[in-house]
């Protein structure tokens, strides 16, 4: 076939990564971020920036609880969100008891206060739209099935930025190139734990083989449910969602929206083929119309 846009193919998920690495293929690596253990110390943010030489994001007092880095971006690859809410006691059951002990009677849910903390990061999607739309091949899938930008190839076109369903990847103002979490490609290749997971004091960020992390996460949710923390749930942990699961998934204590996560993320490149086909058809139609018009004109 030809290499025209019309013939773009969507790599079947099962074959992603593994096809190109052959014997060098490694077990898929990932993060399990258990927000029920997060204490919001921000050690992950700092460790990430230190190890990866990420510049500071700029000083700005946001007033958004204790969060002053505010979002993932080119210069913040781990970001701790602080969800601070005053919750009337009679609504506690609606919003989840969060980390409150089930021993505390509902009517005594003191202060009606909850403060959820969660360390966000690139999801290293199974269906990663950023890779699909990257025209230079700067974004690629590693032998660990993680998604990494090659800075020496990125030309700063920025296609990846709107492609990400989570708003993770971003261009750095100073150099225009796209930057994001590499899952510490340089560390894991050396059998080292990524900087954020290494620095996390409470094991809220766990790193390892994705298969194993998923099992561990499942057990953790069960244990929390047994302790009465009914609201505990996993996010992006299996392949049933719109990105066919993520390399970095989460245990949350409330709906994903509460943490600023899209509840139903979709691989934005999923319909790319159709889009291109539609565009092609439109183009052809246009050519037809023009040709018709010309023909009509000629005939006249």
């Amino acid at each position: 076939m030809s290499t025209s846009p019309l013939s773009i193919t969507h790599t079947p998920p099962a074959n992603r990564g593994s096809v190109s690495y052959g014997e060098e293929q490694q077990p898929r690596k990932g993060f399990f971020t258990d927000t029920s253990l997060c204490i919001g110390c921000k050690a992950c943010e700092i460790a990430c920036k230190e190890w990866n030489h990420v510049p500071a994001d700029g000083q700005h007092f946001s007033g958004e609880s204790l969060d002053n880095t505010n979002a993932l971006g080119a210069n913040t690859w781990r970001h701790v969100a602080f969800i601070e809410q005053k919750v009337p006691a009679d609504e506690m059951d609606l919003v989840g008891r969060a980390q409150l002990s089930p021993d505390v009677p509902l009517e005594d849910a003191v202060d009606g206060m909850r403060w959820l903390m969660s360390s966000d990061v690139c999801k290293h999607c199974t269906h990663a739209a950023c890779v699909d739309v990257c025209p230079t091949g700067a974004l690629f899938r590693t032998e660990f099935d993680t998604v990494v930008v090659q800075q020496d190839i990125c030309n700063g076109c920025g296609y990846c930025v709107p492609a990400c369903p989570f708003g993770v990847i971003d261009r750095r103002k100073e150099d225009g190139r796209a930057w994001k979490c590499t899952l510490c490609y340089d560390r894991i290749g050396d059998d080292q734990t990524p900087a954020c997971a290494k620095a996390c004091p409470t094991q809220s960020i766990q790193y390892g083989d994705l298969d194993e992390l998923r099992v561990r996460a499942g057990e953790r949710v069960e244990a929390l449910h047994e302790r009465g923390v009914d609201q505990a749930r996993l996010y992006l942990h299996d392949e049933s969602d719109g990105i066919k699961g993520a390399g970095a998934f989460f245990l949350l204590l409330d709906d994903p929206e509460v943490y600023g996560f899209p509840p139903d993320p979709v691989d934005t490149a999923h319909h790319l083929g159709e889009s291109w086909r539609a565009a092609g058809m439109a183009g052809l139609t246009m050519v037809g119309v023009v040709a018709g018009a010309v023909a009509w004109g000629l005939r006249r």
Binding site: I39, A43, K86, L100, M113, W115
Partner: protein, 928 residues
């Protein structure tokens, strides 16, 4: 703890995962509260009421661990007949002298206790040759040794006891009466913690104590930064002793220290009144009484490990002066410095103002940000001849003379400051090797990763080479006073291009060696008082045993038994034992209280103690050992006396000596408070608190005084995870600075409404000292309390900022007065009062008139040092649980009440649930 000790907090999370219940008692809802089972929003400065009520709950309901209390504490010991509790004297204990503002502690003693000079020093009052000390004479005699070893109680056999704990004067009954007024009702009225919540924590603590379970208390400067801080810790100690939680796995009272190795800096102290290993610094004494024998006489009780104080002292001097320390010269006792009074940090600053202190070293500290009323510190340093600052960054303490706040206001002019300032760059922890000693008494060796850049050097390098140079300059001196310096053992091997001294050689000297062959000793049991051994710090003795750097060991717990304390991970003082007083982990017969909580136990076959930890007494001391008359030190204690550092081997539920402000904790309001003392209406604040009484350290008025309403809000300073103490290690680093760029003040939505404060905008906080500005953080994490029928507001103020570096702003500590716990000379950082108004503070020369206008409105120039009414009313005698008269409780405040009538509290708008990115006060339609 999650805020300031996130790494240590992993163990709390781990315990929680294993089923532990975590309660967080804090005026603010913090990161710790967020993951705790329950948060108790206590009002600032009322912890003794809270802890006292827990003690009362235990005592009234017979929930104490009876066998433990009977055998291991001083519960049975009788107190002197002339002791009168504060309840019966309107809020002060017997012995109160309103003239001097101090206590005569004699009446607090045990019945039959041989009263000697206060333990600590041979210093006598008449030796003070300083008229300025005046009423501080008492201060100089016993007080300055505080923090050193436990006090002497005389001959234990002479003490009267009642093992049935029924005698009205036995400690147990005295305690029971004393704490009877600390009721759940009192907790609600004073602390603002409701009875249901109090009942839950009381039940949790008592249900999780006893044979099978233990409860642990963890505290930090939230307890110590008060004028009654020492008594907070005492209250927790009493509770833990009653519940049998001391000396047992999972028990104890954990003091979290403020930064790396600050435990180490009290063990081998940077404190003026201590020698290494908590030996007291000798005080000036008249000739004839100023010798080693007199020093040992007052510091070596018969019983317990202090009974070997002479071994430790002589070995210390041997380490310092080597061959020059001989029996003939008292091993150099005359070379040790002498103290003549309170030389703690704040009096030292005052000494700068008065020209008494000419030079000052600042190493690893940033006092112009970190000290209370730090303006006084800056003004003092501007009056020095020389100042040396060693730090990683160009901190405020090094630049106050050119760009400090007083330069801006015009109070200081650079060209008029005579202080010669030397700044010396310091090496970071990765650029030098050495040990850290942290909260758990664990010495952990850290290896050098890289050479320090440029002129940066380690502290060891600086101190050693400075010493060498001084000695070179003095080499020809024949002056007697230079001998201590010239005869010092000051010759350590050096390495590398910068000639950095060997930290291991220093560690070995600290650990100790036999003088004859230089071989490392195994521990302090081998130290001698005849000059044959040397050891720089007796409690660290053994850290270099077998010529091995024991602190560099890195063997984790590989036994598979989670109860194992991993004895080969680093090295813990003393003698690598991981739980102090671990004799208490077994019953009097030497059997563990329970299988679940076993730690050490007596093995009858081997006739030895065995188990998971190292016993902190002789391993072959039988559980039923009874000392014979004349036995010394540890052998003067019984086989079932666990508290081996106490002269009587008992845990002290009641302190017959050693404290300056009372034998038992008693609630007083902070020096500056928004509420009246409802427990002792006649005594508002701690009568013994130590105030720097100066025009530039004026106090805000008390709640009963006119003018109180000028500074109507409580303010508490605190730390956040984003910054490190006074900012030298965080505000200068872009990655840290951006996490918390501006100083801010946490206020409740109610207070914000009351004062018209806008979230995210600037506000000015003003006290009688000065005014500072901070961003407004309106949050439900800080709540008002209703006390005495009126709403009481607290402002939370993190203190990390200063004018230098990347994250800059006013220092919170500028706002505070210097007022101290007399036991420790620690200032009350955690509670003061202020006003808060919207907008930025006046700049430059406009600042002082703004502050002065407040002072004028507040009226009186300050309070007398001892605002108490001792012996208030005789009719109060004998009543244990005297209710506070309603008219006292609800007495309206003098002056104008800015609050208006009390509000219905706890009904602020609940924002819609969402990302949390939108501030909580955003109207629903905006964030939807």
């Amino acid at each position: 703890m999650a805020e300031c000790h996130p790494v240590g907090f992993q163990w709390v999370m781990e315990a929680k995962e294993r089923g532990a219940k975590v309660f967080h008692v804090d005026p603010r809802f913090t990161r710790t509260s967020a993951v705790a089972d329950e948060h108790l929003g206590i009002r600032v400065g009322t912890d003794i009421v809270f802890l006292g009520a827990l003690i009362n709950h235990v005592l009234q309901n017979g929930l104490e661990f009876r066998e433990y209390v009977e055998n291991y504490t001083n519960a049975a010991t009788l107190v002197r007949e002339d002791f009168v509790d504060a309840d019966d004297l309107g809020g002060v204990f017997s012995g109160w002298d309103p003239e001097s503002g101090t206590y005569d502690q004699q009446s607090w003693g045990y019945d039959g206790m041989d009263v000697r000079a206060p333990a600590g020093s041979p210093f006598k009052k008449d030796a003070v040759d300083d008229p300025q000390e005046g009423d501080d004479a008492q201060t100089s005699s016993g007080e300055q040794s505080h923090g050193a070893h436990g006090a002497d109680v005389g001959d234990p056999d002479e003490l009267k006891t009642d093992p049935t704990l029924q005698h009205p004067r036995c400690v147990f009954q005295v305690l029971k009466r004393h704490f009877a007024r600390y009721t759940p009702d009192m907790v609600e009225r004073v602390c603002g913690i409701g009875p249901d919540q109090f009942a839950r924590i009381a039940d949790a603590i008592t249900e999780n104590s006893g044979r099978e379970k233990t409860t642990c208390f963890i505290y930090s400067v939230g307890w110590t930064h008060h004028t009654t801080g020492t008594q907070y810790i005492r209250a927790a100690s009493i509770l833990q002793l009653l519940l049998g939680n001391m000396g047992r796995p999972g028990g104890g009272i954990m003091a979290l220290r403020g930064h790396a190795s600050i435990q180490g800096s009290t063990d081998i102290p940077t404190l003026y009144n201590l020698l290494p290993g908590y030996l007291p610094m000798p005080s000036a004494a008249p000739p004839g009484e100023d010798d080693l024998a007199a020093y040992i006489e007052s510091n070596e009780p018969e019983g317990g490990f202090w009974g070997n104080a002479r071994d430790y002292t002589v070995s210390l001097m041997k380490a310092w002066w080597g061959e020059h320390a001989t029996a003939a010269n008292d091993y150099g006792f005359g070379y040790l410095p002498r103290i003549t009074g309170d030389h703690s940090i704040y009096p030292t600053i005052m000494g700068m103002h008065e020209g008494e202190v000419e030079g000052f070293f600042v190493m690893g500290e940033n006092p112009t940000v970190g000290s209370a009323n730090s303006k006084l510190h800056r003004m003092g340093m501007a009056n020095l001849k020389w100042l040396v600052v060693r730090d990683l960054q160009m901190i405020e303490s090094a630049t106050f003379w050119k760009d400090g706040p007083e330069i801006e206001t015009g109070e200081l002019r650079t060209e008029e400051i005579g202080t010669e300032v030397f700044f010396l760059p310091a090496a970071t922890h990765a650029e030098k090797s050495g040990t850290f000693t942290n909260t758990h008494r664990l010495l952990q060796w850290r290896h050098q990763a890289v050479e320090p850049p440029d002129d940066c050097r380690s502290e060891l390098h600086f101190t050693y080479h400075l010493g060498k140079r001084i000695r070179e300059k003095l080499a020809a001196s024949t002056d007697e006073r230079d001998r201590p310096l010239l005869e010092l053992t000051w010759d350590y091997p050096t390495h590398g291009p910068t000639e950095d001294p060997s930290g291991e050689a220093v560690l070995k000297e600290i650990s100790g060696y036999t003088v004859a062959d230089g071989k490392a000793v195994g521990g302090y049991r081998e130290l001698k008082d005849d000059g044959t051994t040397a050891s720089g710090c007796w409690i660290y003795s053994g850290s270099y045993a077998d010529e091995v750097n024991q602190t560099a060991r890195r063997t984790p717990n590989t036994t598979g038994d989670i109860a194992s304390p991993a004895p080969e991970w680093g090295w813990a003082w003393p003698l690598n034992r991981r739980v102090l007083y671990n004799r208490a982990s077994a019953d009097p017969a030497g059997k563990p209280w329970s299988e679940r909580k076993k730690l050490i136990w007596w093995d009858e076959e081997q006739e030895r103690w065995t188990g998971l930890d190292i016993p902190d007494f002789a391993g072959d001391m039988r559980p039923d050992y009874v000392p014979e008359k004349g036995a010394k030190a540890e052998w003067a204690l019984r086989g079932d006396d666990p508290f081996v550092m106490q002269a009587d081997g008992k845990g002290w539920l009641y302190a017959p000596s050693g404290l300056l402000d009372g034998p038992m904790p008693n609630h007083y309001e902070p020096h500056e408070s928004t509420a009246q003392n409802l427990v002792h209406p006649g005594v508002q604040a701690s009568p013994t608190r130590q105030i720097e009484e100066r025009e530039d350290n004026r106090s805000n008025p008390e709640p009963t005084e006119d003018g109180h309403a000028v500074y109507p809000f409580q303010v508490m300073t605190f730390r956040i995870a984003e910054h490190h103490t006074a900012g030298g290690m965080s505000r200068f680093l872009p990655h840290m600075a951006e996490l918390a760029p501006d100083p801010y003040a946490e206020v409740s939505p109610e207070l914000a409404e009351l004062r018209g404060l806008q979230h995210g905008e600037w506000a000015t906080l003003v006290s009688a000292r000065t005014a500072i500005e901070a961003r407004v953080m309106v949050t439900d994490r800080i709540r008002p309390h209703v006390i005495g029928g009126r709403q009481v507001h607290t402002i939370g103020l993190p203190y990390h900022w200063g004018p230098n570096g990347l994250a800059v702003g006013d220092s919170a500590n500028d706002l505070l007065p210097i007022v101290m716990d007399r036991n420790t000379h620690i200032s009350e950082f955690k509670a003061s009062t202020c006003d808060i108004v919207p907008g930025r503070r006046p700049r430059g020369a406009d600042l002082e008139p703004f502050v002065q206008a407040y002072r004028d409105r507040a009226g009186s120039p300050g309070r007398p040092i001892t605002p108490v009414e001792p012996g208030r009313t005789p009719e109060h005698h004998g009543a244990d649980q005297r209710p506070i008269p309603p008219e006292e409780l609800d007495r309206p405040l003098a002056g104008t009440d800015p609050h208006g009538p009390p509000k219905d509290y706890g009904t602020t708008e609940h924002p819609p649930l969402g990302r949390g990115r939108e501030p909580d006060w955003t109207p629903p339609e905006e964030s939807a």
